[in-house]
Symmetry: C2
Subunit: 498 residues, 2 copies
Amino acid sequence: MDDPAGDALHRAFDPEVFRRDGHAAVELLAGYLRAALEERGLPVLPWAAPQASLEAWPCEFPDRGGTPFEELVERTLAGSIHLHHPRFVGHQVTAPLPLAALAELVGALLNNGMAVYEMGPAATAMEHAVVCFLCGALGLGGSSVGNGSADGGAEGGAGGVLTSGGSLGNLTALLAARQARAGFDAWREGVRGGPPLAFLAGADVHYAMARAVGIMGLGAEALVRVPLDPRRRLAPDALGPALDAATRAGRKVLGVVANAGSTPVGAFDPLEEVADFCAREGLWLHVDGAHGAAVALSPKYRGLVAGIERADSVVWDAHKMLLIPALVTAVLFRDARRSWDPFAEEAPYLFPGQCREDDAEWFNVAHRTLECTKRMMAFELYAVLAVYGPGLLGDYVTRCVDLARRFGELLEETPDFELPVFPEANIVCFRHVPLGRDDDLDAVQERVRRRLVEDGSFYVVQTRLDGAVHLRTTLIHPRTSEADLVDLLDAIRRAAGA
Amino acid sequence: MDDPAGDALHRAFDPEVFRRDGHAAVELLAGYLRAALEERGLPVLPWAAPQASLEAWPCEFPDRGGTPFEELVERTLAGSIHLHHPRFVGHQVTAPLPLAALAELVGALLNNGMAVYEMGPAATAMEHAVVCFLCGALGLGGSSVGNGSADGGAEGGAGGVLTSGGSLGNLTALLAARQARAGFDAWREGVRGGPPLAFLAGADVHYAMARAVGIMGLGAEALVRVPLDPRRRLAPDALGPALDAATRAGRKVLGVVANAGSTPVGAFDPLEEVADFCAREGLWLHVDGAHGAAVALSPKYRGLVAGIERADSVVWDAHKMLLIPALVTAVLFRDARRSWDPFAEEAPYLFPGQCREDDAEWFNVAHRTLECTKRMMAFELYAVLAVYGPGLLGDYVTRCVDLARRFGELLEETPDFELPVFPEANIVCFRHVPLGRDDDLDAVQERVRRRLVEDGSFYVVQTRLDGAVHLRTTLIHPRTSEADLVDLLDAIRRAAGA
């Protein structure tokens, strides 16, 4: 060809180039899995200071590129945190199932954007199927929107959508609550169209809730913090006084946000009692189950979310405890009709309490997600459910919680460690208290963490509980063992002493 | 092992299983690329009614799964729209570069969540690099946040973040404008804390803007629609009267939203004149360049966005004209300090106009994105820039716009087609007007589109312009040819007649 530019563009789409690069990438990634997960031959985190990373990845791109893809993949593998290392016990982000990553490759290449059905027929149907599965797992009842049942749009079963992450999912759910319960059309009139609004939430609720009310223009005081019980669960007795105080202050309370697995310590709020309160007071119940809703798949631990089936909305991240790569978040509604409320401009005649007339539109999902074009994210979860089955996920959840409770026992038995709250699920916070020394304990935890992170032997994080710094672990890797945790305690002692 | 459940979980993470499934997936996808892109042996869209798709993907997952992964991939390929077919000329979603999909595989497996630097060191640095590149391409100046320059946090260069899609990107930018220009702390006090707020926007602005003001609690009237000129560009002369009217109605106008590539017809608002107006009136200028900012990479067409370097914020989707899979959206700020404003609860001392003191925190990107955990989405764009170079993307953009303008000429020369607006970039709307027949022209376009979609020969979409239904095409595939477009017109004639 006499068109070098066109020629390069043509080559970049050559199926044979893809085949070559693809097989090479699979080999590199299989090697990474072996090294991280089986041989443990990599540091969990190859620590480099931010400025050093910045210099290693400069903002310089020659006009015709020229970096070999394999070299780039190798450098990326070397410069990333290795979630597949069984000593990754830090944040609530999963080491994804390799199959789910392959599903994402398929979705990325097909790039079916799903805003409307035509832009992703199979993906839309798969989204409906996984939403239906997740609703069923929580006891919300199967999805009714568009499933062909006679009551599809009427006395609604459950339903919902997938969206890009827990923060967006929680925002979506709270927008639904705002629209359904404000008593005026907050979407069209704005939030000045009625009294100041508010939500009640346990004090350990995720910062996404503060963000949501900030974004929604409700102001910081619209998130009313309710005290916790000694296990850091929302104290149901505190709800009434909080509601009364907010009401006296002139606010209309829309609902309660409960945790099914709080971020700091993985506490599960007493959903039955919270649901009773909401039913009595006519409030929306939103459950942030981003992390913990997954216990519903574990026959052994599903009791932790008893009552979740009474929630008006639930957020559940597949990228936390369902072994899926980020971001795949389900926003589930007990009454599927409420899934039309968050972005109410799509249906100006849809004032709170009214069902969308054109239920046939269930398949154009952008009506109900902030995203217009979206990733075909359902495929990843669909593939895991179809290939491995829900049982595998349930086994995984059970294993993680078993291990965390064993870790809790171990910490209780160990004199130089303190456990502030026995773990309900798989998040465990604790402090190292070096015996016979009079150290600044906050500084000890911070020093320990910094040293572990920088030497790459374990990845742990930290948080403050009642003002005191604690080490924080999430036992989220399917191959972390009790022996690893015993070694962790030894590593902490060494790091504290050094 | 005597633990069948643990055994299944162990096998699911076996690197050898990944290797086998990975190579199989690469083969299937290479075959798909050959069939769709080279042989054109697939329908563009394998049409099936929504209900039929639903029945093909039921919500039934045996507890131990059992579906072979390859079978699932084959069914997904068969049930998806094939963006890699050169006769996909519909919505603004790209046939991604196969290399970018492989980059997403790497990112999906590594799953570096990036909320804090430790959770994605290389990914964080890559995000900084691509944001810097994009800012530079628009003339906004290189990113200064955290680049080690002495003025990093002071007299700010440009900067920004990547986020999950254009709707979220536009919301993020408008939140920044709200916080920076309301004159009161709208985040903490809520939007009742001052006068009603508003934005001015051209009438053809994307529905994401209406959503943003709805979400932000400003009400539907907060988006003031400004009339268009005959080429469907925002008419700068109409800005003054719109501002006066909104002010008289008691609203404080925060800024102007301009299009760089409108959704209906790809019109580019006259940014220099809009920027002059904003400078004069002290208004924030936000440019929705989700689609069209990419012309900045084309030496031939970058004049279309002259003035974009004066914007306060710009949204640019990599998944539209940068050949990256959805969703990768850049939110760019001329003054990087403004990137801290959208989610101001992170820095309660950060009242509008104040720079965040702790500039070192640039590397914990969740301060500045709605997402907490995020995909390591920078890698896809970084890989394309490093391997192929910006030149390849510029060539691609030039090619698409060249083709669209040639299509515009063709439509002008063709008596039985009407072109309402000559294309500035690569979106072309038109109507078929069968000669010598007295049809309902709206019905003709709808019938034509429905038939093309259902027979799978082309994928085109439709829109209403001044109330009249038009066929709408986006020439976004690198291998669509003029001959394809001649064939499209013939196919339309046949579909209209049948």
